[in-house]
C-alpha cells in the first residue's frame, strides 16, 4: 500500500498546479455564493443575475476534471511500450489502485472537503450534507468516467482529446438516431419505456467503461479494449433502440422517494380529535387531457392557534378490475390567511384566524391515460396526505434596515434592503435553502424544514394588512444550495384609490412590517379517501 500511495503522491505532485487551479475554481464558485448571500440589496437584480451566471460558468469549468482525470491516468501511459512504469516493479493492479485513489482524492474528497464549510455555513444537517455530497460525487463521476474511457486507450493527450470530442459529438447524434428509430418502432411515446432504456444505456456505459479501464490496466491489450468499447457501443445502440420491456423505473424511483419521506410522517402522530370532512371534489381540465382532481376538506378539531401545512404526497387510484395508478398530489391550506389575520391582530385576536385554520385542499395531477380511464370507469382514490401541524408562535416587528440572518433548520433569510418608493415599501430578502435534486425532482422533502414565517405590512389604524407581491425574484443554485433574491412590494392600504397617492404614502408612514412565525408541532399523515361514487360525481 505504501508503494501505491507513493505513486499517488507522484501523480499529485506532477499535476499540483492544474489541480490547485481546479480546486480554486470550486472555491471561487463558493466565493460567489458568499458574495450573493452578503449582498446589501442595493446591487439590483442584474447584478444578482451576473453573479449567478458567473457561478454557473465556474461550475461548468469544473467539468474540465475529465481532462485532469486523463492527465492523472496518462502520467503513466497504458498504451505503447515506452512508458517509464512498464519496466519498473509496478504491476497493473497496483497502478490501477493508485490512479483510482488519486482520482478519488482529487475529484471526490477534495470538492467535498472544500464545499463542506459552505454547506455547514448554510446550516445543512447531516441528511442534507449526505444528499449534497451524493450530488457532488455523481456530477464529478460523469466527468471522471468520460476522462477515464479514452485516457486508458490512447497514447497521449492529443489523441485523448480528439476521441473525447468525437464521443461528445457522436453521443447526441447517436441518441438522435436511436430516438428516431425508437419512435418508429414504438409508434407512440412511452416515457416509462424511454426511462428504462435510458437507465440501461447508463448502466451499460458505466459498466463498459469500468470493464475497459480494469482490462486495460491489467492486460494492456489495446486491441481487446477497443473491441470491448465497440461491443459496448453496439449493445448501447441495440438497447436504446429496441429494448422492449418497461421497468417503470421513473415512477418506481419517485414512489420510493415519497415512501421514504412518508416514513417520517407516521399516521400515529396525528393529534387526537381531528376530523377531515369532505367539502367538494371535482375534476378540472378537458376530456382526455391531463387533468387534476381537486378535493377540499374542512378539518375540525384544531385549536385557535393551530394550522395545517400540507406537504406533497402520492395518491393511488384503484379500479374494480384490480388495476391501479399513482401520482403526485399538492396541498394548500388556510394557513396563509391565518397568518395574515394574526399579523393584523398582533396575535391577540385569534377568532378570525381560527375560522381559517381548517381549510385544506389537495390537487392531484393525472396524466391523460389515467384521466381517460377514470372517465370510463370510476375508481377509488386514496391519498396518504402528509401534514405539518403548525402552531402560532409570534408576530414580531421588523425594523426597516438590513437585518441579521434568521435561520430555521437549513433555511436562512435576511432582510437585505428596504426603501419606500411612493406608496409602496420595497423590501429585498436574501434567502438560502436546500436545493437538492432529490427534493426538487422527487418532491420528497427529505430535507428538514421547521418553522414557517411570512412578512406582512400592517396598518392597524386602518385595519389593512398586505402580504406583498413579488416584484423581482431570482433563484440560483450553488453547490446544492439555493440562493434567492426577492424584492417584495408592500402597500399600506389594499388598493390606493385614484388620486389618493398621498393618502397611500401617509398610510405607509403609519404602517409597520411584521413577521408572523408558526412553529412546527408535529408531522403526521392522514389517509384521505374518496369512493367510486364520489369520483364519479366529481367527473365533469
Amino acid at each position: 500500500m505504501n508503494l501505491t500511495w507513493h505513486i499517488v503522491k507522484k501523480d499529485l505532485r506532477a499535476l499540483k498546479w492544474p489541480l490547485l487551479l481546479w480546486i480554486a475554481l470550486i472555491i471561487a464558485k463558493l466565493g460567489v455564493g458568499v458574495v450573493l448571500l452578503n449582498a446589501d440589496g442595493t446591487e439590483g437584480l442584474d447584478w444578482f443575475n451576473k453573479m449567478s451566471g458567473l457561478a454557473q460558468v465556474l461550475s461548468a469549468f469544473e467539468f474540465v476534471s475529465f481532462v485532469l482525470t486523463a492527465a492523472i491516468i496518462q502520467q503513466d501511459l497504458l498504451v505503447g511500450t515506452t512508458a517509464f512504469w512498464m519496466t519498473r516493479p509496478i504491476s497493473g493492479a497496483r497502478l490501477l489502485r493508485a490512479k483510482l485513489i488519486g482520482i478519488g482524492l482529487v475529484f471526490i474528497v477534495a470538492p467535498v472537503l472544500v464545499t463542506l464549510p459552505w454547506w455547514l455555513g448554510c446550516h445543512y444537517g447531516i441528511s442534507e450534507i449526505g444528499w449534497a455530497v451524493t450530488e457532488t460525487v455523481a456530477a464529478q463521476a460523469i466527468a471522471v468516467l468520460l476522462g477515464l474511457l479514452w485516457s486508458v486507450v490512447t497514447d497521449g493527450f492529443a489523441r485523448f482529446l480528439m476521441w473525447t470530442l468525437v464521443t461528445l459529438f457522436a453521443t447526441p447524434m447517436l441518441t438522435a438516431i436511436i430516438a428516431y428509430y425508437a419512435s418508429r418502432h414504438l409508434g407512440s411515446f412511452q416515457p416509462e419505456l424511454v426511462s428504462t432504456r435510458f437507465l440501461l444505456v447508463l448502466l451499460l456505459s458505466i459498466g463498459g467503461i469500468f470493464v475497459v479501464v480494469v482490462h486495460q490496466f491489467l492486460t494492456r491489450n489495446i486491441g481487446r479494449s477497443i473491441a470491448i468499447i465497440a461491443g459496448t457501443v453496439g449493445l448501447i445502440v441495440l438497447t436504446g433502440a429496441f429494448w422492449p420491456w418497461s421497468w417503470n423505473v421513473e415512477s418506481r424511483f419517485y414512489s420510493y422517494l415519497i415512501r421514504q419521506a412518508q416514513g417520517e410522517w407516521p399516521a400515529g402522530a396525528e393529534p387526537p380529535g381531528l376530523a377531515f370532512k369532505l367539502q367538494s371534489a371535482e375534476f378540472s381540465g378537458r376530456k382526455d387531457r391531463p387533468a387534476s382532481l381537486i378535493a377540499s376538506y374542512q378539518v375540525e378539531g384544531l385549536t385557535a392557534m393551530q394550522g395545517l401545512m400540507p406537504v406533497q404526497s402520492e395518491y393511488t387510484l384503484r379500479w374494480p378490475d384490480g388495476t391501479s395508478a399513482t401520482g403526485r398530489s399538492w396541498g394548500r391550506s388556510g394557513l396563509a390567511d391565518m397568518m395574515s389575520a394574526h399579523a393584523l391582530s398582533g396575535g391577540n385576536d385569534s377568532g378570525k384566524a381560527a375560522a381559517l385554520a381548517g381549510s385544506v385542499n389537495f390537487t392531484s395531477a393525472m396524466p391523460a391515460p389515467t384521466m381517460a380511464k377514470v372517465r370510463s370507469s370510476a375508481s377509488s382514490y386514496t391519498l396518504p396526505a402528509r401534514f405539518r401541524l403548525m402552531r402560532f408562535e409570534s408576530v414580531t416587528r421588523v425594523p426597516l434596515e438590513p437585518g441579521t440572518w434568521s435561520v430555521h433548520d437549513s433555511q436562512g433569510e435576511r432582510l437585505a434592503h428596504a426603501e419606500k418608493e411612493g406608496p409602496q415599501l420595497l423590501v429585498t430578502f436574501i434567502r438560502h435553502m436546500p436545493s437538492l435534486w432529490v427534493d426538487n425532482a422527487g418532491g420528497g422533502q427529505l430535507a428538514g424544514t421547521g418553522d414557517y414565517s411570512q412578512y406582512f405590512l400592517v396598518n392597524r389604524t386602518r385595519g389593512a394588512v398586505d402580504r406583498g407581491t413579488s416584484t423581482d425574484y431570482r433563484l440560483t443554485r450553488i453547490a446544492s444550495v439555493g440562493i434567492s433574491w426577492r424584492t417584495m412590494s408592500f402597500l399600506a392600504i389594499p388598493r390606493p384609490p385614484k388620486g389618493s397617492v398621498l393618502d397611500a404614502i401617509n398610510a405607509l408612514n403609519e404602517a409597520e412590517l411584521v413577521k408572523v412565525t408558526f412553529a412546527e408541532q408535529a408531522r403526521f399523515s392522514h389517509e384521505l379517501k374518496l369512493g367510486p361514487e364520489e369520483i364519479a360525481q366529481a367527473n365533469p
Binding site: 507513493h6 506532477a14 511500450t81 517509464f84 519496466t87 519498473r88 509496478i90 504491476s91
Partner: protein
C-alpha cells in the same frame, strides 16, 4: 546458467514479421551485445523479453520466469534503459531517484551517491532541462542504483554525441566493476559495443545470424591478403570466404572460420606462388562484411 533464454521466439506486427523464431541464450554474468542494422529486430526482441510486447509465437524466460508472467519481484531485479523510454521529465534528478528508490528493496544509497558524483549529474535540475546524454545517464543511474541482476540497454548510444557516448560507456564499464550483473545491450553502434561485450549475437531481418563469445567471433574472422606474382583465376570462392577480389598483385578476402593451418593450406592450394597474411578484424569490420554479404544475397537466402 542462462539469465535469458528464448525458444523460437517470434513477433509479428500485422503482416510484418519483426522477429523470426529467435532461439538465444544469454549467460549469467556476461555482457551480451545484440547487434544488427536498423530494423533487424533488436528492439522488438528486447521489448518481448521485457514483456512490453507479447510474443506472437515461441517463448522466452528472463530470470527463469516466462516473460509474459514477469511480476514486480522480477522487475525489481531488472534494469532497463532505452533511448525511447519516456522519463517523467517534470521531475528533477533527485525526484526521479526519490521516486524510484522505494520500489527496490536492494536500492543502494551509497552507490546512488557515488554514481551521482561519478556521472556528474546536477541533482536539482529537471530532467527536461538535461541534455540527451545527461538524460541517459540519469536513466542509467536510476537503474544501476539497485544493483539489478540484469541490465538491459536498448540502443543506449543513439543520439549521443561522441563525448556523451564515451561518458556513458565509461559509466557502464565503471559500474560493471561494482557488481556482477548481466548486461544485454542492443545497438548498431559496433565500436561502443566492442568495448563492452564479451558475447555477441547478430540479428538480420528478425533472424539470428549467430550468437557466440566476442573472443570466438574475433578469432574466427580474418581479413586475408595474398600477394601473388601475376593475375590469377579467382574462380568461385570456397565456403567461408567472403568478398574475394584481386587488385593488381594482391588478392583479398575474408575468412569466417579462421584456423591458422586450414586457411594457410587452402591459400597454398589456390595460390601456390602467393604469400598469405592474416589480419585480425574489428567487430565493426565483421559486422559490415556480414551486412554487405546479406545485402548481396537474394532475398531469403540469408535464412
Amino acid at each position: 546458467m542462462n539469465i535469458i533464454e528464448t525458444n523460437r521466439l517470434s513477433r509479428r506486427y500485422w503482416r510484418t514479421e519483426a522477429l523470426r523464431e529467435l532461439t538465444l541464450a544469454v549467460p549469467t554474468g556476461s555482457v551480451f551485445a545484440l547487434l544488427g542494422s536498423n530494423g533487424a529486430g533488436k528492439t522488438t526482441a528486447i521489448k518481448v523479453l521485457m514483456n512490453l510486447l507479447p510474443p506472437s509465437g515461441g517463448s522466452a524466460t528472463v530470470l527463469g520466469v516466462d516473460t509474459c508472467r514477469l511480476g514486480e519481484r522480477e522487475r525489481a531485479q531488472i534494469g532497463y534503459v532505452s533511448e525511447n523510454q519516456k522519463l517523467p521529465l517534470w521531475m528533477t534528478v533527485r525526484q526521479l531517484l526519490d521516486y524510484c528508490r522505494p520500489f527496490y528493496p536492494t536500492w543502494d544509497a551509497a552507490l546512488e551517491a557515488k554514481l551521482l558524483t561519478q556521472f556528474d549529474l546536477p541533482p536539482d535540475r529537471k530532467l527536461k532541462h538535461l541534455s540527451r546524454g545527461m538524460l541517459m545517464k540519469a536513466a542509467l543511474l536510476s537503474t544501476l542504483a539497485y544493483r539489478p541482476k540484469l541490465l538491459v540497454l536498448d540502443e543506449p548510444f543513439s543520439g549521443l554525441d561522441p563525448l556523451a557516448r564515451d561518458d556513458f560507456v565509461r559509466g557502464i564499464l565503471e559500474a560493471s566493476e561494482l557488481g556482477d550483473w548481466t548486461v544485454l545491450v542492443s545497438s548498431h553502434d559496433i565500436e561502443e559495443v566492442e568495448r563492452l561485450a564479451d558475447n555477441v549475437a547478430l540479428l538480420e531481418n528478425g533472424r539470428l545470424r549467430f550468437s557466440e563469445t566476442t573472443e570466438s567471433l574475433l578469432g574466427r574472422f580474418r581479413r586475408m591478403e595474398v600477394t601473388v606474382p601475376g593475375p590469377v583465376s579467382l574462380g568461385a570462392p570456397p565456403a567461408g570466404w567472403l568478398e574475394l577480389e584481386q587488385k593488381g598483385g594482391l588478392v583479398k578476402f575474408i575468412v569466417t572460420d579462421f584456423t591458422s593451418g586450414t586457411v594457410e593450406r587452402a591459400c597454398r592450394d589456390r595460390f601456390p606462388d602467393g604469400t598469405a597474411v592474416a589480419h585480425p578484424m574489428t567487430l565493426r569490420e565483421i559486422f559490415v562484411t556480414l551486412a554487405r554479404e546479406t545485402r548481396t544475397q537474394p532475398k531469403g537466402a540469408a535464412a
